[in-house]
Amino acid sequence: MSKLVSLNEAISRNVRDGDCLYCAGFTHLIPFAAGHEIIRQGRRDLTLARATPDLLYDQMVAAGCARKIIFSYMGNPGVGSLRILRSEVESGRLEWEEYSHFSMISRLQAGAAGLPFIPMNQTGATDLERANPNFRRVVDPYSGCEVIVVPPLKPDVGIVHVQRADSSGNAQIWGIIGEQKEVAFASERVILTAEEIVDEEVIRSDPNRTLIPGFIVDAVVHVPYCAHPSYTQGYYDRDNAFYLEWDKISAAGPEAVKAYLDEWVYGVKDREEYRQKLGPQVLSRLQVKPRLAAPVNYGEY
């Protein structure tokens, strides 16, 4: 059954004010186009969860979409701080809930696996445990030692970008696979965006590469260049220059941030217009040369 819809439709049907939203992707495959569509549709009071909020959540918070942030590393990777999030947290305007990467990902794993909580070994660093009441301790019934536990994270909506999917949402990812699978299984509703929509037979030619099965997906959207300024392995490179540029824009103050949003989010209709606006120079700078994997033989049985 085809679940193909436009991005506009996928967001308006599945993302509601007050939802907990998880846009997946550890540096790789961050669904910027979907976040920008949420900004354009004016969603409010969202709880934004991501291990690394990245520029996307900095922009969504700047646009007034969020009430709360759940995170484990609030930096601009390789550059410095996420200035908007940081100032919102420092001023107390934005609610926050903080984890380490492992405890954040463990929450998703528990959500994805249908567990009531999930244990982790102790780390000795107890200050975060004291700051966030979601960290608890239980006694291991086998050894008698205490372990740390966290509850499941079950976002209302998970958005996952992939290299290719068929129209019913069977999705294949390669490169850094971060927490995409866990987000898809943990979330109540799943929006899948894909660089390419391929025939079901392409997916079935390499089933081991399918991380997300279509039957847990609610909407499938064809969005080439969805991840820019993040990247899609084998399709286009990370726009490191823009990550540096955002540091300057967000340092320059609210006017500069508003000007950026006006031009690049509110000022374009969709991702295709955004892609064309980037222009041939940027697109060619981010082009990657192909490097193919050796084919594998599944055998005829």
Partner: protein, 254 residues
């Protein structure tokens, strides 16, 4: 004698701490340079593991972010974040972790979370990321940081990652498997834990003085006997760093 920057000095001295065959949890920036330098010199069998879930990376270019696509192309394996933190780190398959932070205290505890109070921060820092678990579970941890008094307080404002907590027994009491910080490499010298877990000065770099090290540490810095003098960076180490690893000087600040 060749001249060099503080970043080059710290990177080269950190690279020398790595052993051939070590599996290393690599961070971006200077730790990435140190590991790649070690792999091109005395440790050709270094296994580089990246937090993003990449094992046996052979980056062809300098990665700006921890999840750069160059880490994946040509790597031995890629796995999920849950797998990297459980199968690799928690299970005890990582020999060395690199850490950094805004503050490091007398017992090697690190703060990368907040300056001031947690609920009403005066400066909000990025937070743990992977460092809480790296510090706990890697067999050995190394820290690279410029030697400045504000970075070396007696006690950190917030323990993001555990060093020896209140002293050497602290880790055992908390059932923490890893060996903790083994060396803090600064631009003046190297600090290492003594038998109580307190960081003491064990080596000075050429040209640095005891007085500088003492004046730039926020506690009464003890000096190890005998105090070692590090070998100056060699021409070959500097050549690899400058021409092969960071030709644009992005991290080496040349």
């Amino acid at each position: 004698m060749p001249t060099y920057t503080s970043s080059e000095l710290m990177t080269i001295n950190s690279a020398r701490l790595l052993r051939d065959g070590d599996s290393v949890f690599v961070g971006v920036g200077l730790p990435n340079l140190a590991c790649n330098l070690a792999r091109r010199t005395h440790a050709p069998n270094l296994l580089m593991i990246y937090e993003a879930g990449v094992i046996g990376a052979r980056p062809a270019r300098l990665p700006l972010s921890i999840g750069d696509p160059t880490l994946v192309t040509g790597a031995a394996s890629v796995c999920s974040m849950y797998d990297i933190f459980t199968l690799y780190l928690q299970r005890g398959n990582v020999d060395v972790g690199f850490l950094g932070g805004a503050q490091i205290d007398r017992y090697g505890n690190i703060n990368a979370t907040v300056i001031g109070s947690y609920d009403h921060p005066s400066v909000r820092l990025p937070g743990s990321g992977g460092s809480q678990e790296i510090a706990a579970w890697a067999n050995r941890c190394y820290i690279m940081t410029p030697h400045q008094k504000r970075r070396f307080p007696e006690k950190v404002d917030f323990i993001t990652s555990a060093g020896f907590l209140d002293g050497k027994g602290g880790r055992t009491a908390a059932c923490v498997r890893g060996g903790g910080p083994q060396a803090v490499v600064t631009d003046l010298g190297i600090l290492s834990p003594n038998e109580t877990g307190e960081l003491v000065l064990t080596a000075l770099h050429p040209g640095a003085t005891l007085e500088q090290a003492i004046a730039n540490t926020g506690w009464q810095l003890k000096i190890a006997e005998p105090l070692r003098l590090t070998e100056p960076p060699s021409a070959e180490e500097l050549r690899i760093l400058r021409t092969e690893l960071d030709p644009a000087g992005i991290y080496l600040h040349r």
